[in-house]
């Protein structure tokens, strides 16, 4: 009997290890042989730990399972049970998705290269090895893939700049410093399908003439670090990485670098400084990292999801990927539905689904059962959207047009008990804690921002104009998104939720 219990950090944080132990213990006590696989997560976090059993009809799920439920599951022969969910892939949250990047996540043993290959893995890399770098870059450009870290810059264009740059050494740097609250897609793919990232980076290396790669992975993700380290060892042993990638005679190898708890290192130039062993201070651009990046050499810096999506683009062709989506947002986006939500988790879908559908239909509204008040999209630097903007379709330009951003596609839901003045204050406080200190509007402005919001809270009407002006200064006068985008949550809270800002309400009336 084959039993799956996820090793994903969220599943483990909810007791998956104890469930896995109970399965083995119970099987031994009953004299049954169980093949236990620690898979990635299917992304339905409210059902974690989600135990699956392989049957003739497919994979049947049970969840959320606690260790105490396991004897009962054996008694029921993994059939009729109160926690039974039936066919896992028929659960509406799962069935409604378009899984391209996450096709294997939760399905396979994350560290089995054989299963990875059996499910389409490495075919993108094999195809890439037969293509010229120009054709490879053109394929990625044609797919319409844009940076999934938040900036949305076309991946192919970035690659082409690096490809054309001449240097004795070029680098592929994967930004796995996923510090935005409400986002966990990078973590999930690294824990659930690490070889997709390895393959994506190897393809990026072939396309740009880079032979070395780094994954800059945040220290807050101990499970992802462990899985990625092991994946690299196995990829190297199998000849996927090394002096001759899949026997092609072309070299690519990579290593994991662990961050040290600085949010700002998710910004690409800070990340490069940190990788080089310096303080994680933002660099001015130009020079672009594509021309002078890691160690002063031409460097591709891409987000985990961008890179992990490249293999499926190469496997199935640019046109297939490009055919999904809306406007200039092509392909799929793994939306992470989080916060106070009934059905939280990762939902990969073509661009274009409305925010309201994601929050109410897919997410099922709040976990508390209270009305949704606000939704923050794109992490701590993203805007708070009220219900009146719920018809906004998920897309880069579409969110920009409403004064927001999709960022890394985290959607954090708040119920009506949320105090938006407190959330605006927190945004400034967070910016003050995490500012690298390079730009004065960010370093000093964030501190002044906290004080100014406190003045508003005390009923000082004149402080509203000061805050607005301060936000404009931060927006225009900061080198990176930390100082530049902190005004998004602050000003959107002020604009859309005036009732929480007593003086703003008076001024408006």
């Amino acid at each position: 009997m084959k039993v799956y219990v996820p090793r994903d950090a969220a599943a483990r944080a909810l007791g998956a290890d104890a469930v896995a132990e109970a399965v083995l213990r119970e099987a031994a006590a009953r004299g049954l042989t169980v093949d236990l696989v620690r898979n990635g997560s299917r992304g339905m976090v409210w059902l974690e730990p989600l135990l699956e059993v392989e049957t003739e009809a497919g994979r049947t799920g049970f969840g959320p399972v606690s260790a105490a439920d396991v004897p009962g599951l054996f008694d029921a022969a993994f059939g009729d049970h109160a926690l039974a969910l039936g066919d896992v892939e028929a659960i509406p949250f799962f069935a409604k998705q378009t899984r391209l990047t996450f096709a294997r996540c939760g399905l396979i043993d994350p560290l089995s290269l054989a299963e990875y290959e059996a499910h389409g893995g490495l075919s993108g890399l094999r195809r890439a090895l037969e293509m010229t770098p120009e054709a490879l870059v053109a394929e990625v450009t044609d797919s319409g893939l844009r940076g999934r870290g938040g900036a949305g810059f076309p991946t192919g264009i970035k690659w082409d700049t690096v490809r054309k740059a001449e240097a004795d050494q070029k680098y592929i740097v994967c930004n796995a410093d996923e510090g935005d609250s409400g986002t966990f897609a990078d973590r999930m793919i690294m824990e659930g399908d690490p070889f997709s990232l390895v393959e994506g980076m190897a393809i990026a290396g072939l396309a740009t003439g880079s032979t070395r790669g780094f994954v800059y992975l945040r220290s807050e993700y101990p499970d992802a670090i462990e899985v990625m380290q092991e994946a690299l060892r196995r990829a190297r042993a199998a000849g996927v990485l090394g002096a001759s990638v899949l026997g092609s005679g072309r070299a690519f190898d990579m290593e994991i670098r662990v961050g040290a708890g600085a949010y700002v290192c998710g910004e690409e130039t800070s990340l490069l400084n940190s990788l080089e062993g310096k303080r994680g201070v933002v660099r001015a651009k130009p020079p672009l990292p594509a021309l002078q990046g890691a160690f002063g050499k031409p460097t591709v810096v891409n987000n985990v999801i961008s890179l992990a999506t490249v293999p499926v683009i190469l496997e199935k062709g640019a046109a297939q990927y490009r055919d999904f989506g809306l406007g200039r947002s092509r392909g799929t986006i793994p939306v992470q539905i989080a916060g106070n939500v009934k059905h939280g988790g990762l939902f990969e879908t073509a661009f274009g689904m409305s925010l309201g559908t994601l929050v109410n239909e897919i997410g099922g509204g709040t976990a508390s059962g209270r009305p949704v008040k606000a939704v923050q999209i794109g992490g701590p630097l993203g805007a708070y959207f009220p219900e009146t903007l719920f018809d906004t379709p998920f897309g880069y330009e579409e969110f920009d047009g409403q004064g927001g951003l999709i960022g890394h596609a985290g959607v954090v839901i708040f119920d009506d008990t949320a105090d938006m003045l407190a959330m605006a204050r927190f945004a400034m406080e967070f910016c003050a804690v995490e500012s690298c200190g390079k730009c004065t509007p960010c370093r000093i402005g964030a501190v002044r921002g906290v004080e100014t919001i406190d003045r508003i809270g005390r009923g000082d009407a004149s402080a509203v104009e000061v805050l607005t002006d301060l936000c404009d200064t931060m927006k225009d006068g900061s080198l990176c998104a930390l100082g530049g985008f902190t005004p998004y949550p602050v000003m959107s809270a002020l604009r859309h939720f005036p009732a929480d800002f007593p003086v703003a309400k008076e001024a408006a009336e």
């Binding site: 969220a10 409400g182 986002t183 973590r187 303080r279 994680g280 989080a338 839901i413 967070f430």
Partner: protein, 155 residues
């Protein structure tokens, strides 16, 4: 190497030397020192500076920039509670308040063998409030669960 014995220069040098073939060895060295000694000892700063041909001020600047690196080892339990938005949305602030009350400590403080630290996102945003107790992650925590986890490890 127990955290209570001050690390010797030879121990520090061995860790530094083990990383010298890497590109950009600074952070890997600092992580390795912290893993070995529970903190980045002050005595390591001039040794690293020497090995990497940097000034002591530069090395100190790097060590002090990052939240992760400690200047003294922590004894007892380390409770990290997520303060980020998704956990706030699911009641994280109230959990933090209650934990502070119970243990009589604020952010960054230690008392009675418990240290409380803020963390900004553990990637458990769909099962918050999230916490990390001595490195282990926990989802959907409340104050009682944190107290139980602290008591569990202390026993």
């Amino acid at each position: 190497m127990s955290p209570s014995t001050p690390p010797s220069e030879a121990e520090i040098d061995a860790i530094v030397a083990a990383h010298m073939s890497m590109e950009g060895p600074m952070l890997p060295i600092l992580h390795a020192l912290q893993a070995a000694f529970g903190h980045v000892p002050q005595a390591a700063v001039p040794r690293i500076a020497q090995a990497l041909n940097q000034t002591r001020a530069e090395v100190h600047g790097v060590v002090s920039f990052y939240h992760d690196f400690r200047d003294a080892p922590v004894t007892g339990r380390v409770v990290r509670l997520c303060r980020a938005e998704a956990c706030q949305a699911s009641g994280g602030a109230a959990v933090a308040e209650a934990v502070m009350q119970t243990f009589g400590i604020g952010w960054g403080e230690s008392k009675g063998g418990v240290t409380l630290e803020p963390v900004y996102c553990l990637g458990l945003c769909a099962c918050g409030p999230a916490a990390q107790v001595d490195g282990r992650l926990h989802g959907r925590v409340d104050a009682a669960r944190i107290e139980a986890l602290v008591a569990e490890g202390a026993a």
